[in-house]
C-alpha cells in the first residue's frame, strides 16, 4: 500500500506541488494503478533481454559540420522572463 508520505516524496522528486486537499484521492488512485501494473510480477521473464525500443537501432552520429546558429532572440520570445539574453529566475544564492 502506497503511503501519503511516499506520494509526498514522489511529488518532490517530480517537482510537483503536493496539494493536501486532494491528497487522499491521489494516493488511492496511484495505489490502484500500481496494484494493476503489479500483475506483471506473475509472468516469468528470467533471462529475457529488456526491450527498450521497437527498432534495433544504433544511435547515429551526424557529421560535425558548420551550420547556422539558432537565433537566441527568436528562441527567447517564448520565455516568460528574459533580461539581456539571459533567463531570469528567483535568486538562487543569497
Amino acid at each position: 500500500m502506497l503511503s501519503a508520505e511516499e506520494v509526498k516524496r514522489l511529488s518532490v522528486l517530480a517537482r510537483l506541488e503536493a496539494r493536501s486537499e486532494d491528497e487522499d484521492r491521489l494516493v488511492r488512485e496511484l495505489d490502484r494503478i500500481l496494484g494493476f501494473v503489479r500483475q506483471l510480477e506473475a509472468t516469468s521473464t528470467g533471462a529475457i533481454e529488456p526491450l527498450v525500443h521497437p527498432l534495433d537501432l544504433v544511435q547515429p552520429l551526424r557529421d560535425d559540420e558548420v551550420r547556422e546558429p539558432v537565433d537566441r532572440e527568436v528562441i527567447q520570445k517564448s520565455a516568460p522572463d528574459v533580461e539581456d539574453g539571459y533567463y531570469r529566475v528567483p535568486r538562487v544564492i543569497e
Binding site: V7, R15, L16, V37, E49, P54, V92
Partner: protein
Amino acid sequence: MKPRSRVPELVAASGREARLAVEYYRERIRIFNPRLNAFITPVDRKAPPAAADVRRLAGLPIAHKDLFVTRGIPTTCGSRMLAEFIPPYDAGVVERLDQAGCTVIGKTNMDEFAMGSSNETSAFGPVRNPWDPERVPGGSSGGSAAAVAAGLVPVATGTDTGGSIRQPAALCGITGFKPSYGRVSRFGMIAFASSLDQAGVLARSAEDAAWVLREMAGHDPRDSTSVDRPVPDYVAALTRGVRGLRIGVVQNFFDDGLWPAVAARVREALSVLEAAGARLIDVTLPHLSLSVPVYYVLAPAECSSNLARYDGVRYGHRAREPRDLADLYCRSRSEGFGAEVQRRILIGTYVLSHGYYDAYFLKAQRVRRLIRDDFLKAFESVDLLAGPTTPTPAFRLGEKTADPLTMYLNDIYTIGVNLAGLPAVSVPAGLVDGLPVGLQLIGRDFDEETLFATAADYQGRTDWHRAEPPGFEGGTG
C-alpha cells in the same frame, strides 16, 4: 458550393476551384466547430507557392493535431502549460506536408499531452463526437477524428502512442492509420513516450490516408529514431487486393470485455475479406493481455522524463511571484499540468525510482519483448492480423473520468501494437446502436502496403466509410 472531397479529386482541382474548396471547409468549421470543439486554433496558412504547382497535395486543406509544432502558430498540446506557446519552428511532418502543397486550416483539440482516451483531459474542454454530442470522440487525437468525421476538413494528422489515432478513428467512424515506429519523423512532435509515439493520418478512407502518408513518411536526420529506408508508393498499393492474403484473426481480442454487437460487426467485416479471397486463420498472442500493465509502466516512465523540460523558465506556463527556484518549478508545473498528466508523472517517477526500477521498469521492458515476440511469431504464418479496434462504441462524456483504470482499459486492443512498433489501421466496420465501430488491421514491421491494400479492398466492397453523422451531411461531397 459542395466540393469534391476525396483527396485525389481535391488535389486535381486547381485555381478557383481549389480556393473554393478551402473556403468551403473553413465555412464548415465556422458553422459546426462550436458544437464539437474539435479545433483549438483555426489557421489560415497556405503552403508557399511553387513555380509550376505539380505538388502532389497542392491545395489540400489539412488540420494538424495541436502537438505538431507550427512556426508562428500557437501549439498548446491541449495543455495550460503551453497555452501561450508560439513555436519558432515547424515539425518535420508539417514541413513535409507544406512542401507537398497542403493548406493548413487548423490545429485540433486533443487530450493533454496526448494522455487520454476520450479528449476529456484537454485544458480547452472536451471534443464531442459528431455521431452523438453527449459522447466522447475518443482520444487522444479526438479533435482530428471529430473534424474529419464531421466533414470540417478532409484529412488531419494525429499521433498514436497507445491507440490515439485508431481508437478515435473507430469511435468517430473514419479511417485512422498508424505507421510503423520510425516511419514518420517525430521532429517537432511534442514528446509523450518516445519509444511508442508515432505520427499518422486520420482520413475518410484508406485511399485518402495513402495519399497523405506517402508525403509524410520518410527519413528525417533530425529524428534519430526515424528510419532511413525508401518509402513505397502507398497509393499504388491500394489496388493490390486481398486475394491470397492470410489474415490472422486474433482470438484473444474476442474476449469477455468485447461487446457482442461490436464482435458481430468485426466478424461481418472479416467475412467480407474472406469472400474477397483472403484466408482467415485463428491466431493467439499469449502475452497480449499484459500490454495494458506494461504500457502503464513504460509510458508514464518515459513521460515523467520527457515532461521534466517544462520548468517555467524557458517556455510554457510560469507561476506568479515564486518564493524561490524550487517553488517556481513546483508551482509552474502543478498549475500548468492537469490531473491526468500529474498522475502519470508521479507513476513514472515511482517506477523509475531507486528500489523499484528493476521490479517495475525492467520487468515491463522484458514483458514488452514477450509481447513483440508473440507478434513476430504470428507473422511467420500470416500476412496481417485483424480484430476489433475498441471493446465498445463511443462512451458518454464523464462516464469513465472517475476511474483512471477504467479509462486505460479502453485501449486494450490497440496498445500492444505500439509496444511492438508495428503499423496498424482502423477502418469503419458498421454501426452499433447508431454509433460507429472499427475493424483493426495490424501489419508486419514497415509493411504499410498490405494494410492499405486490405483496407482499400474492404472499402471497395462496403460503404461504412461513406456514412455521415446525422446533422453534419455535406462534408463528404
